[in-house]
């Protein structure tokens, strides 16, 4: 003891080494906190570098628009001086001519032409043809020559498009992702009817996810109840039947649905054999929305059963018995007493299934056909086939925003700590 109660009754309590106990305790806590942080830090940095940063980096692509700005800087500067009425001056025409030829020599012209073509179809051919023409011209005036070569150069719209696409940062991809576009006069309006697809796809993604969630809930609720009320021996055995699909490869399960559901598949064979349908009346159950719904419901069902089960497991049967003994019918007792207690499980399961299904890619791609494709499939299409990466990034940002909102909700309601696996 370094504290002598008799001589220093008002002084701070001291630790064994003479420092005040408060300071010493704070120091000890700080050391432990630092140790905890040091343990978490490696994974945190790993996730940040290999996962979060790449995604954020990609999302920036949705607003970045460097191609035209990089290749036509002088033209764009000249267009800044143009008031949007009449035609740009000869200086702007000459700058465009020089920069397009330069872009062609740098093998950048194709990119410029494609970028402009995404905005206004026909720009690609206009640019490529004009460059060929310009190369034959030895000198100006370019304005006259270009106007004579193609009358589209006389349209203000053409120049307004170049000016607009020349901005280094743009919201144009988000407009495209929402089926909107900038009209030639600069106002924002909807795409023509036949080009409005993403609203439909977002709507369908939402609708399919909602249906899958509802189907999963309807199928999972009774099964979870059974599992929670059976003696442990039996429920453990049945639990294996829930967990096996959970552990089986997504591709394997999708493949088996193809085998089962296709026109010459097992289910159609059985129905023909039983006599429900005749040979000609085989039902097309796959490569459409129905296929996506059936396969996704089966694949995501365990994610609904597990949280429901873990909540139902904790509900004591005495409440139901009390309700019955107080005169409630079995139905009333179940609906008024049991079901409200399963609320947290229902919330957790529904949110989890909805979050997972909204971003589904593999199953819709393999069994969805035309009517069963979802937003992820379009992101993949723009990444891999059309190579319109900015649009893919914009669609991805919208999807990610939706998922993160639901994730936040899940965290608020359920808490990530309570997420269980098997």
């Amino acid at each position: 003891m370094t504290v002598d109660a008799g001589t220093a009754p008002t002084g701070p309590i001291l630790a064994a080494d003479g420092t005040p106990l408060k300071v010493s305790l704070r120091k000890a806590l700080r050391v432990r906190r630092l140790r905890a942080i040091a343990l978490v830090l490696p994974l945190f940095i790993f996730v940040l570098i290999t996962f979060i940063f790449p995604i954020v980096d990609m999302l920036f692509r949705s607003v970045e628009n460097p191609v035209v700005a990089r290749n036509l800087p002088i033209t764009l500067a000249e267009l800044e001086n143009w008031n949007g009425k009449g035609l740009p001056s000869e200086v702007a025409f000459a700058a465009l001519a020089k920069e397009l030829v330069l872009a062609r020599d740098n093998k950048e012209m194709g990119k410029v032409a494609s970028r402009l073509n995404f905005e206004t179809s026909g720009m690609r051919s206009l640019i490529t043809k004009s460059v060929r023409k310009i190369r034959k011209l030895k000198q100006g005036p370019y304005k006259e020559a270009l106007l004579k070569f193609d009358k589209r150069w006389a349209l203000q719209e053409t120049w307004l498009t170049i000016k607009r696409i020349g901005q280094a940062y743009t919201a144009v991809q988000y407009l495209a992702a929402l089926d909107m576009k900038t009209q030639p006069d600069g106002s924002i309006g909807m795409q023509p009817e036949d080009r409005q697809i993403y609203g439909l796809i977002f709507g369908r993604t939402f609708w399919i996810s909602l249906l899958v969630t509802v189907f999963c809930l309807i199928l999972a609720y009774p099964v979870s109840y059974l599992l929670a009320t059976l003696p442990l021996r039996y429920s453990n055995l049945l639990m294996v039947m829930v967990l096996l699909p959970f552990w089986t490869s997504l591709l394997v399960r999708t493949t088996s649905w193809i085998v089962l559901l296709q026109r010459n598949g097992v289910i159609n064979d059985i129905m023909v054999w039983v006599g429900i349908v005749n040979e000609a009346g085989r039902i097309q159950m796959i490569y459409n929305q129905m296929g996506t719904l059936i396969a996704m419901t089966q694949i995501l069902l365990p994610f609904m059963i597990l949280p429901l089960y873990s909540v139902m497991k904790t509900i004591s049967p005495t409440y139901m018995r009390a309700a019955r003994s107080l005169g409630a019918t079995p139905a009333t007792a179940f609906i008024r007493v049991y079901m409200p207690q399963t609320g947290p499980g229902v919330g957790a399961g529904c949110l989890l299934v909805f979050i997972l299904s909204i971003g589904y890619y593999i199953t819709p791609a393999l069994v969805g056909g035309q009517s069963g494709t979802m937003i992820s499939n379009f992101i993949a299409y723009h990444m891999k086939s059309s190579l319109n990466w900015s649009l893919a990034a914009a669609l991805g940002t919208i999807l990610l925003a939706a998922v993160l909102m639901l994730y936040w909700l899940y965290n608020k309601i359920v808490g990530i700590d309570n997420m269980k696996l098997g």
Binding site: P54, L251, T255, V266, L301, G359
Partner: protein, 283 residues
């Protein structure tokens, strides 16, 4: 089934209806997985049961599709890649995930919910977005179309599973055990390996197996990040389903199902052992 005397005929009907409904749901869950197993022994190149198979004629069954896998260098090559990627990704994910879970389970951890949300996010973010992001970034730093790139990508996708399972094992961990160990003179390292590790090992292994199966089944990231040289089994299956459908796919699927059953059994046994060790369940 013995009913209490007060249960009327309607009550019984409800009960049987309920059992039948549950039975159908279990069938819905499990039948699609089981149906491919006999079909993979089909002697004919069809995706459905032939007359002979239904009559149990031995001639209608064959192992030709399995021989196909073994004799096809493409499949064997993919299998090799899958195993290499999954093993290294699992090791990386298990080590990082376990260490982080140890930190997260301490009460002195600041900003715990926010950090947890970040660490779990690879499980939540749609795969297509993760894959697209990784594709651009890994291309930029020269890791696209390389095995290390694929391993890093799969490792980060597997870490949430390790974090979740190990944190779950650490819930209710009696910290007086570590204090007692330190009191008796053991250093932090020795305490970890002698006291904590044996208790959380089931969780670590379960999490590791989750990470393994995540990598082993993963196709979207492979689709974007891997070149021909890094083809894995799922990538090969994907091509098979989309391009040349053959029952070889079913044989591969059957093998994958067997692997799943093996892993599931291991995890279940470990879970029960862990619960017994921690005194959480009687069985």
């Amino acid at each position: 089934m013995a009913f209490p005397p007060y249960v009327g005929p309607i009550g019984k009907a409800w009960h049987y209806g309920f059992l039948i409904f549950c039975g159908l749901v279990f069938l819905f869950l499990i039948a699609p997985i089981l149906v491919i197993i006999p079909l993979s022994f089909n002697a004919e190149p069809y995706f459905t049961f032939t007359e002979g198979m239904l009559a149990f004629e031995p001639a209608a069954y064959s192992t030709r599709w399995y021989e196909d896998i073994v004799n096809n260098p493409q499949w064997m090559f993919s299998a090799g890649n899958s195993v290499i990627v999954a093993v290294f990704a699992t090791i990386l994910a298990s080590v990082l995930g376990t260490v982080a879970a140890l930190g997260l389970s301490q009460s002195h951890m600041p900003y715990r919910p926010a950090i947890m949300a970040v660490l779990i996010s690879p499980m939540i973010v749609p795969l297509i977005i993760s894959a697209a992001g990784m594709y651009f970034f890994y291309s930029k730093i020269g890791l696209a179309q390389t095995m290390p790139g694929l391993i890093l990508a799969h490792a980060v996708l597997g870490t949430p599973f390790v974090v979740i399972t190990v944190t779950a094992t650490l819930v209710g961990f009696d910290h007086s055990l570590t204090r007692a160990s330190q009191n008796l003179g053991a250093g932090p390292t020795r305490t970890f390996f002698k006291i904590q590790m044996p208790l959380i090992l089931p969780g670590v292994i379960s999490g590791g197996l989750f990470a393994f199966i995540t990598s082993f089944d993963e196709v979207v990231v492979v689709f974007f990040l891997a070149g021909f040289e890094q083809r894995t089994i799922p990538r090969q299956m994907w091509a098979g389903i989309r391009e040349q459908i053959s029952p070889t796919i079913l044989a591969v699927a059957t093998i994958l199902v067997c692997i799943s059953i093996l892993l599931l059994t291991t995890v279940e046994l470990l879970r029960r052992r862990s619960e017994r060790l921690r005194g959480m369940s009687p069985g």
